[in-house]
């Protein structure tokens, strides 16, 4: 494939920009805190991004849009988009956003403020109360006037944006794509995952023998994709492959043998023309649930050699759902860029049924190829492969 990352940015509880995230990783400092979401009394830890509630977007107001807004202001993403609009025309740029909550946080708030069973005035926002809200807002914010699509495939949402963005570029319907993901803490996700008995009262411990559930978080992340031959001074990171598959098993339980996960990883490697032993690092889906980590870990143990280092980074910012795909893809990309593999934070004793190259501490190592896994509800899987330009 011939797709390059021009720029990237990530905002989560572990850092409001990529520089802050690096610092959190280097010092192994988690952004998780005890649940303090207004209106929720669940005993758990969450990855809440401070300051989101101070952003006022008027007619576009929602926590989700505010977090997208905050993330887009970081680093040089917006500057790159402005330059591309000038050189290409705003209609030759596309937007592909991934989310699961979209702006359901605002709909929840609207229901808390109904007047005689009807929406009160500040909440009459048709462009917010619908699942396409993240892309509608990003088109408004950026002034991009090309196609804008929202992918809502639960936790694989913002991994799949890279696949769709790459296809759009190769098909020539646009000349650059802003891909992104944004998902926000709200009562739906906190109490929804609690109803499935998946939420831990403790800080999550992915892959650990004594892990007891997930922590939820929120994040936004962006990357700009361009064709390699178009001559941009890019980040030197290539999107080499992607794999997309379905488990065909259950709405909320992963396939017991990791069928769809295996298909996604194999497809991504085939597309990238790489063998498993060439992969230096895998950022796992690794949610810290009993089932997910066991199935994914056993599968990786079968498919990859010990020279492939793995970790889950969910103990830094929690499981950011529809934003997890891009958050973790960018952590993998940044690991490649810096030569620093984040450890699997909070890992004390590896699950006795797993045999993997994983440790809690960070590792410094030169790398060529990294992989990022995202598996979602409905058995929707996506795997991404990135490489550095040789």
């Amino acid at each position: 494939m011939d797709i390059r990352l021009l720029d990237y940015q990530s905002t989560s509880a572990a850092g409001v920009d990529i520089g802050a995230l690096r610092q959190s990783i280097d010092t192994q400092t988690s952004g998780l805190r005890k649940n303090d979401m207004p209106g929720s009394d669940l005993t758990t830890w969450i990855g809440r991004v401070p300051g989101v509630e101070d952003i006022n977007l008027g007619d576009w107001q929602s926590r989700n849009n505010a977090l997208a807004h905050l993330g887009y202001q970081q680093g040089t993403i917006a500057t790159h988009v402005e330059n591309l609009k000038s050189s290409l025309g705003s209609q030759r740029l596309g937007i592909v956003m991934g989310s699961s909550t979209s702006s359901i946080d605002r709909t929840e708030a609207a229901y808390r403020h109904l007047e005689d069973g009807a929406l009160s005035l500040p909440y009459r926002q048709p462009l917010v109360h619908n699942p396409h809200a993240p892309s509608l807002y990003m088109a408004h914010l950026t002034g991009i006037t090309g196609p804008a699509l929202t992918i809502n495939t639960a936790c694989s949402s913002s991994a799949k944006v890279f696949a769709t963005g790459a296809r759009w570029l190769r098909a020539g319907i646009v000349d650059a794509v802003l891909v992104g993901g944004v998902d926000t803490l709200c009562l739906s996700v906190l109490h929804g995952f609690d109803s499935l008995q998946l939420v831990s009262p403790n800080q999550c411990r992915p892959l650990d023998q004594h892990r007891d559930g997930i922590n939820l978080g929120e994040a936004s992340g962006f990357a700009i994709l361009v064709r390699a031959g178009d001559g941009y001074a890019d980040s030197g990171i290539r999107l080499l492959g992607y794999g997309e598959s379905s488990d065909a098993h259950h709405m909320s339980h992963p396939h017991p043998d990791g069928l769809g996960a295996r298909l996604a990883m194999q497809q991504a490697l085939t597309r990238a023309q790489l063998r498993p032993e060439q992969i230096d690092y895998i950022n796992l889906h690794g949610t810290s649930s009993r089932a997910n980590d066991l199935i994914e870990g056993q599968l990786i143990g079968k498919l990859f050699p010990k020279s492939t280092q793995v970790s889950s980074t969910k103990a830094w910012m929690g499981h950011t759902l529809g934003a997890a795909g891009i958050t973790e893809a960018l952590i993998a990309v940044d690991a490649l860029q810096r030569g620093v593999i984040p450890g699997s934070l909070n890992l004390a004793e590896l699950d006795h049924e797993l045999d993997l190259s994983v440790q809690a501490d960070n590792i410094t190592r030169d790398m060529h190829y990294v992989l990022s896994n995202s598996f979602g509800f409905g058995g929707n899987n996506c795997c991404l492969v990135f490489g550095s330009v040789a």
Partner: protein, 266 residues
Amino acid sequence: MSEFNFSVLGIGAWGLTARSWPELQELMAGKPIEDDGSKGPKPALIPANERRRAPLPVRLAVETSAQACAAAKLDPAEVGCVFVSGLGDTALTDYMCTVLASDNKALSPTKFHNSVHNAAAGYWTISTGCTEAANSVAGFDESVSLTLVEALIQAEEEQRPLLMTFYDAPVSAVLQPLLKNPYPFSVSLVIAPESLSPAGSPVWSASVMTEAATWPSANWPGELQDCYQSNPVARVLCILDMLTGGLDSVTMPLSSATAVTVTRVS
């Protein structure tokens, strides 16, 4: 300008009083069909105990997807898919937001996992044993054109047939003033790149252009007109009109500054 040549292998439909693509064609032609009183389809593909709990948008999407694959004579397990709902499952949104605004915030686990936007694609792949890529997207007013382009690009790149399913259910009371739609409506199309078109079947060409467009004005008989205007996925009617010979070509907005035009090639 980017062009994609394709053929249509099969169509499925469920909406208003139509229970199949032939019946929707009758409604489009102004021939009324008596209402059978059903509130939604009961797709046989979904096992009975699951079907009882499956939300209306899921049942709409699975029913028309099954019809389209059957018409295309393809095993659904081997067809990738793109599903789109413009408005989401507002009945479940209403349930969740009502519970969460109350003192007891205990949600039904089944209703929570059914509330994900990809529930329809999930039920479809689970019911058919399909392990292919399943995309689930949203595009609000541009749901139909964006999904068509997404599916065409994927079919062309993979050189395989692709299922696309457009579905939206009536909007719940609280959001009704904003999102309008009172009609259940679903249409599925199985498309194939030109290289896989059956001999003698019509070939269509879709072009993406950098120019603004509006949705074609139409004067559909009966409630179809209101449905076309209020249900974002019913905009697919303008494509269906072209496929059945009512229009030579159709131009649809893709974004504020781009459009997609579909015309017959052969």
